[in-house]
Symmetry: C2
Subunit: 118 residues, 2 copies
């Protein structure tokens, strides 16, 4: 495997670490976790979210009371400025990673998208 | 958004285009598509595979006859040297992209993996 190629990947990783998006996320995550009550609320919100996503992915039924429990926690979370900022920072980073993937996999799209019958 | 960061992404994309993995995939894909019978077989195999994956992802039941139809096509495909090579090249490229993602998202893992309660 080409050394050059992996050097480019590591260059990108290093630059990503220096980005506003990444450093903000890290700072906000540390802030949320430094405060026990905020940390507990954030973990609860996260666990509920992961649980629902997993059920959805596996095609399992999601109960009305589960949706309500999540919405209730989400409403409390939105009132918490620290968590709200962290969630926003997390979304920004995820969008950035999606942008990376789009650019990096464009050469593949050019191969697979350029022929009929697919 | 930092210009530097996106320059690194484009650097990686350019290097990826030059890689053995990518150029082989491109060449093999062109070869398969240059031969109508091989192309047709490859498309059939692909469509069946995508169909089954989508059903699986959506939690839909996969019928025994669908599995058998896929296995039958897969067996024919494995006899076709051009397609077998293309499938192998596709897997190599996918593994490469997965490696990229692992490296690029390691900084995120460091944030989210470093706190208890998650």
């Amino acid at each position: 495997m080409a050394v050059n190629l992996f050097n480019k990947v590591y260059d990108l990783e290093k630059e990503f670490r220096k980005s506003d998006e990444y450093t903000s996320l890290k700072r906000l995550f540390t802030e949320v976790n430094a405060d026990p009550a905020t940390k507990q609320l954030f973990n609860k919100f996260n666990n509920l979210q992961i649980e629902l996503q997993q059920k959805q992915m596996m095609g399992q039924k999601i109960m009305q009371q589960e949706v309500e429990a999540f919405q209730k926690t989400a409403a409390v979370v939105q009132q918490n400025e620290k968590i709200a900022k962290l969630v926003e920072a997390d979304q920004r980073v995820n969008m950035l990673i999606m942008e990376f993937n789009k650019i990096i996999t464009k050469p593949l799209e050019e191969i697979y998208g350029s022929f009929e019958g697919r």
